[in-house]
């Protein structure tokens, strides 16, 4: 074998374990789900193999599913917006800090060491009827009965922001950190105030990070099902909860498959849109 041929093969050799894993653990199960979505669950509870469009017809025509899908997208959008507004200043401070950058980044990573479920449940101890805030308010005599702060849309969004903020900050940080500060010096020397410099130079150059963080927060937020279970009320179900409900509770795999593919299609379209305008490279930078 020539050197060239060996070099040409090398990337594939190195990638092959990962490609095998992706194929077996992701693509094959996904193919099963696609197949399942065309099966039918009969009245007896058994699945009937075949090519039926019934699940798809139900998923796409029932207003119940549509409303929950729209609500899911709304919650994900609000969460993303809040993360962006809260995350940008934090990322800016980290990127521009001189000595303690490593410490700040470590603090940012710290939450990842604790299970996401436990982090979500911690809000019950803070906002719950006998949680920290209500206990304090009652002890101070400001209220007699606990204020209901949990189990509504706001607490779901709060939980999601808590979960997704580090992703947003990391992505914006990577973008800001890559901006050459002499660009800002140049803008100032040309007559721009600090604020104008931010608007004209820093912000536009950090948009790729903001977009990457936004995409990640949106996709992860829209696909979540634990946060609404732990922090949401009966009417705060998100789309992934429907999938969970169909598959785990009702054991209706065909319908669950169709629903999950529906969510995948919506979020996949978003990712493709992002890729079209900004490319995947930026997202990888933020994750790596």
């Amino acid at each position: 074998m020539t050197v060239e041929a060996r070099e040409a093969r090398q990337p594939y050799l190195l990638l092959s374990p990962a490609m095998v894993a992706v194929t077996l653990l992701l693509l094959v199960p996904l193919a099963f789900i696609v197949v399942y979505s065309f099966w039918l669950r009969t009245a007896t509870g058994a699945d009937q193999a075949g090519f039926f469009l019934d699940n798809w017809r139900e998923a796409l025509s029932d207003a119940f599913y549509r409303d929950i899908l729209l609500n899911t997208l709304k919650i994900a959008a609000i969460t993303t917006l809040v993360c962006a507004i809260m995350g940008y200043p934090a990322a800016y401070v980290i990127a521009r800090s001189r000595g303690n950058k490593a410490v700040l980044l470590l603090l940012l990573m710290l939450p990842f060491w604790i299970s996401y479920i436990i982090r979500t449940m911690s809000w019950i101890n803070i906002l719950g009827a006998s949680g920290a805030i209500n206990s304090a308010l009652m002890w101070l005599g400001i209220t007699d009965a606990p204020i209901q702060m949990l189990y509504n849309e706001a607490s779901v969004i709060l939980g999601l922001v808590h979960f997704l903020l580090p992703f947003m900050i990391l992505n914006i940080y990577v973008s800001l950190d890559g901006i050459d500060t002499t660009l800002e010096d140049a803008a100032c020397s040309l007559g721009a105030t600090r604020w104008r410099t931010f608007l004209e130079v820093t912000l536009p150059l950090s948009l790729p990070g903001l977009a990457a963080g936004g995409l990640l927060a949106f996709v992860l937020g829209a696909g979540t099902y634990i946060t609404p279970i732990v922090l949401g009320g009966p009417t705060d179900a998100m789309f992934a909860n429907l999938v969970f409900e169909a598959i785990i509770t009702q054991l209706n795999w065909p319908l669950g498959s169709a629903l999950s593919l529906m969510l995948l299609a919506v979020l996949g379209a978003l990712v493709l849109l992002y890729n079209h305008f900004l490319g995947m490279g930026q997202l990888m930078k933020g994750l790596g």
Binding site: D180, D185, A186, A187, C188, S189, L190, A192, V201, L205
Partner: protein, 363 residues
């Protein structure tokens, strides 16, 4: 246009002093270089003038007005960086027009002035491109255009040519000189490259370890270095510890181990007041290496001593010899006529005392 005055400016970073008290007059329209090795405080000084750093002490004036407290965006200075610092998300025309936006220049005049600036740097047709689509040299011209289009009082350049390759650097050097002449702007140029400083400047400020070693015209700094540092940093020099034996109004007599007695004209040793230890600087190119007993006996104003070549560094046009004379090893750079001397060859080393300098620095 403006004159710049630095009055005892100091810059400290924590307990480290990057610039020791430094005073400097930069006349209107002149081209002044800050020259020195890496870390000597050139950029720090430039950034203080620019307003990117606050001096720890001292005053900075432009046209006699103290500007210490004027924020950078109101100083009206043109800044050019080593890495160009063009805005990657803006076209070339937008880059050049950037500073005009903040000066209330209307769109039509802006376009006009951008066009003129691009003509000046001889890149009239690149306005619609993005910085990435230009070569390094072209980007640096655009950075220059962007800095001068705002008609700044002073142009500040921080190693603007260092990122370019050797040939391009020389072309850009000529270009920079032409543009500076054409618009006659006061320019402060930071470099660690002595050739750039010598070629471009009206005056050179040689710096070392945060202190000014010498200020003078290129020729003065080169031929009459004030300190050992300057002598060694600009070109190659030999520093010979010597003893002054006699000094009168016209001549200074001294002795050293390599050449014995030397008599220098007074202007080569202006600082010497009387007998004592001094440092003699001899440029490597002023030592002539000849074959022993070569034709053309030493001129009457020339001294000749025997030596042995220890190392030859062949450079094509010239050769650098390390030649031993007694206990001293000296460096000599000579044009090659025929073939260079071989290592180990016995030679004569000739020197005209009036080509030497006694350093102002105490021995």
């Amino acid at each position: 246009m403006g004159a710049v005055t630095l009055q005892n400016i100091v810059k400290r970073f924590g307990s480290f002093t990057a610039v020791h008290p430094m005073s400097l007059e930069i006349p209107e329209g002149s081209f002044v270089s800050l020259l020195g090795p890496s870390g000597c405080g050139k950029t720090t000084t430039l950034r203080m003038i620019a307003g990117l750093l606050d001096p720890s002490e001292g005053d900075i004036q432009i046209n006699g007005r103290r500007i210490n407290d004027v924020p950078i965006h109101k100083r009206n200075l043109g800044l050019v960086f080593q890495n160009y610092a063009l805005f990657p998300h803006r076209t070339i025309a937008e880059n050049v027009a950037f500073g005009l936006k903040f000066r209330g220049v209307d769109k039509a005049e802006r376009d006009e002035r951008v066009k003129k600036a691009l003509d000046l740097v001889q890149l009239p047709d690149v306005g619609d491109r993005y910085p990435k689509q230009l070569s390094g040299g072209q980007q640096q011209r655009i950075a220059l255009a962007r800095a001068i289009v705002i008609e700044p009082d002073v142009l500040l350049l921080d190693e603007p040519l260092s990122a370019l390759d050797a040939n391009l650097r020389e072309d850009m050097r000529v270009e920079l000189k032409r543009i500076q002449h054409q618009i006659g702007i006061t320019t402060v140029f930071v470099t660690h490259d002595q050739a750039e400083a010598l070629a471009l400047s009206d005056r050179i400020v040689v710096m070392s370890n945060g202190r000014v070693e010498q200020v003078g015209a290129p020729e003065d700094v080169y031929t009459t270095p004030a300190t050992e540092f300057v002598a060694r940093f600009l070109g190659a020099s030999n520093i010979l510890p010597s003893t002054c034996t006699d000094a009168d109004g016209a001549t200074v007599a001294l002795e050293n181990s390599a050449f014995g007695k030397l008599v220098l004209p007074r202007e080569r040793a202006p600082h010497v007041s009387g007998p004592g230890a001094v440092k003699l600087a001899v440029r490597a190119e002023k030592l002539a290496i000849v074959a022993p007993g070569a034709a053309g006996a030493p001129g009457e104003d020339e001294v000749s001593v025997p030596g042995v070549i220890e190392t030859v560094d062949y450079q094509g046009l010239a050769a650098r010899y390390f030649v031993r004379i007694g206990n001293e090893q000296l460096q000599a750079i000579n044009m090659i006529d025929g073939s260079p001397f071989a290592e180990g060859a016995a030679v004569d080393v000739r020197l005209r005392p009036r080509d030497c300098t006694i350093l102002a620095e105490a021995a």
